[in-house]
Symmetry: C2
Subunit: 449 residues, 2 copies
């Protein structure tokens, strides 16, 4: 009989633990340590709860601690792992030492808090866990006069929307020239237009240099373009892997301090890691990346469970994690935004010779009522004609088209292959050439020039 | 200098001719013969024009004869090809003989009119060309008391919707047990429910045996389940290739009398064919199929132009048509329907050992407002674990998910590959596992049982 200890009870940890419990004979123990007060929740849903679209944080919970326990998990809430002794195979926790035979590290990520003057003042929040979300939620109901969101990635954008929906005066500060720097600037301009149209004060090209603090509370944000009043600050600067525990245990860290794992998510003998804390590989460039997303965490949880079951029972593992293509999607009010693969600079950095084409089309056939514009940008490699990336902004039904491109990227298709795909067409769903194919044809035209 | 003659001025013909005109030096002639009164129109838009969603048939025209002529095409409207002399390389037309150096046959398809008593009566219409559409449109404004739609495929369904939207008493007769027999029956039931909820009288399991006719006009439909009153009948029984001209010229016909072509759409020396008149190959089964769809016609038009340009100029062709995966999509009122790949019986017929799983999920995260149900059915091959087909019915944003499956089919992915795809996720767009992946996981579970 063996004991598997899983550190972390959210997406990756809970998925791994549930899979282990389901597939391991009952004599094996599966123990989950969760330092917070929630399990298996949708962190991505936090902005929609704060905006009022979702009634309660409980709605975001896929499985409660009680439900996990009913499924046979030994789940220990409020218990934090503080050290790992890999030689002795013991995890030190806030509730005493716990020996393990196999260990899963799923400690997740935490919002980046830059080391700036005043950063520790009250009223400055990151948003990663439901507990973080509750703090922001409570702060919003103290009627802040000026909200400043620092950073305009997905979380920054979604939180800014939630604040204006709540009727608050909201400013977004972005270091780059356009919001959502994960998009090419030409598409970021569409997002900027939508933000301003919704009443958000957008300050691009502005670096935050510090915070003014009065009586321990934030009262303003200092930027390279001047000061901004602020009694609530939300950090949307991305996240960093919570890998200190792994580092202290001597595990190898890679990009952005994420734990280095193999394709079965093994970090070392008897130790696996999954979710926001691990490094992945980009399937297009072959390069290591850190992508903290629930979609990967869930898949990796499955892979870890499969790997440990195979290891303990002497079976052949069935699953491996093939890497990511950096797909992401969001909505700002009615503007949908998505991207997959490499951006132009990423492509260049990875040694490709990128060709870029941008096309305008409509979400439904142009002659249908409610036809609305959408913009598709496509990047391909000149010599190999291989698809490298796609980005989309547009109205209803625009952004999900990205899945076609993400699938084509996973298959290593050329733009010529994309042109010849048998994609769905009827007038209420688009034009006879799917938007992704219209973009592919534009790239082909450039390549064949 | 050479003369290319293109027979047919809709999707395939006009695309081929435009590509030829753009890429051939001006001393080469490109002549297009179009027997009807329209060019380059969206036949798929006809039901939406008839329903009143699109104001005029002119809105469905992508390029008028005048626009084609302005682009340098020698377009001859109202001229029909009546015979091809391949030895002499001459097309006989209603406007005299015309010699050619290269010939493109793009004569399209026509609605199936079964040889039943009374089929030639006034008031019985197929819907394939804009001219057909105009006849139905005019008939609808003569206030028919009872419309009967025969067949419940895409056209039947869309025309039935147009009729109920127009406030007409509408009955649909379907030979099979559920409407849209291209769907598995379990999904067809959802369509049946939606049709009945919209006030359509649906008669399934009913074979049409003839028509009652009074003074040359249809007055009823005879079915195996009894007679139905009808003063307007719309045939939605699918289409058949308009290949008599090709057959009489000695060209080989295949499935459903469609012209046999190679992957560059060549039918014989100096003769190419494209669009609804040609046979394609299914990329999953490798078997010949006849799929009359504008998406294929447009792609094939490109391939034909490329092939003839290469042939005339001594270049290497760049394009080939890789076949289809039988993707199709439609909407019945608010119910979206799509499918791709093989159905269960098709899979069995093609020698696969199909495993089928059906899952229920929501179009957006379950906790979001407006979450609506969707059903995904997936078919895979047991020994190879290869994805064979996907079918979807559901509310808003459901049906376009089929493109992910269509792309995965083109790439020959297994269901395990689909589970590990990096597809887009944010709460307004679905759950952390995309609907297609939820279905793939259900199939995997069956395979690993």
């Amino acid at each position: 009989m063996a004991r598997v200890v899983v550190i972390g009870g959210d997406a990756a940890g809970a998925t791994a633990a549930s899979g282990l419990r389901r597939r391991l004979p009952p004599e094996h123990e599966v123990v989950v340590l969760e330092r917070g007060s929630w399990t298996s929740y949708s962190a991505c849903g936090i902005p929609y709860w704060i905006a009022g679209e979702v009634g309660s944080p409980h709605d975001l919970v896929a499985r409660t601690p009680e439900e996990h326990r009913a499924n046979g998990l030994d789940l220990r809430m409020g218990v934090e792992a503080t050290a790992i002794d890999r030689g002795q195979r013991v995890v030190a926790t806030t509730d005493g030492d716990l020996s393990y035979d196999r260990l899963v590290i799923a400690t997740g990520a935490e919002p980046i808090r830059p080391d700036l003057p005043g950063i520790d003042a009250d009223g400055i929040y990151g948003v990663q866990s439901l507990d973080d979300g509750q703090r922001v939620f409570d702060a919003l109901f103290q009627d802040p006069e000026h909200v400043v969101v620092v950073g305009s990635g997905y979380i920054g954008l979604e939180m800014a929307e939630a604040c204006v929906v709540r009727g608050l005066d909201t400013t977004v500060v972005e270091r780059m020239g356009t919001p959502m720097p994960i998009l090419e600037a030409s598409l970021g301009e569409h997002v900027a237009d939508a933000m301003r149209a919704r009443g958000i004060e957008l300050r691009t090209g502005a670096t935050v240099t510090g915070f003014t603090v009065t009586d321990g509370r934030v009262t303003g944000v200092e930027t390279s373009l001047g000061p901004l009043p602020a009694d609530l600050v939300i950090l949307g600067l991305g996240v960093t892997a919570r890998s200190a525990l792994a580092r202290d245990a001597g595990l190898e860290l890679g990009v952005k301090d994420a734990i280095v794992v193999d394709e079965r998510l093994r970090a070392a003998d008897d130790v696996w890691a999954a979710g926001d804390v691990v490094q992945s590989f980009d399937r297009v460039s072959g390069r290591p990346v850190h992508m903290a997303l629930g979609t990967h965490a869930n898949k990796q949880g499955l892979v870890v469970a499969d790997a440990i079951v195979a290891d303990l029972l002497g079976e052949t593992p069935r699953l491996s994690f093939p890497g990511v293509v950096q797909t992401a999607i969001t909505r700002f009010c009615r503007l949908e935004v998505s991207r997959t693969g490499l951006g132009e600079q990423q492509a260049r950095d990875a040694g490709f010779d990128p060709v870029v084409a941008t096309i305008e089309t409509t979400n439904v056939a142009g002659y249908m009522p409610d036809a609305a514009p959408m913009t598709v940008l496509m990047i391909a490699d000149r010599p190999s004609r291989r698809l490298l990336g796609v980005q989309i902004v547009g109205a209803e039904d625009a952004a999900l088209r990205i899945d076609t491109a993400a699938t084509a990227l996973a298959a290593g298709m050329t733009v010529d292959d994309v042109v010849m795909l048998d994609l769905a067409y009827a007038p209420p769903f688009g034009s006879v050439w799917s938007p992704v194919q219209v973009a592919a044809r534009a790239v082909v035209k450039q390549l064949d020039r």
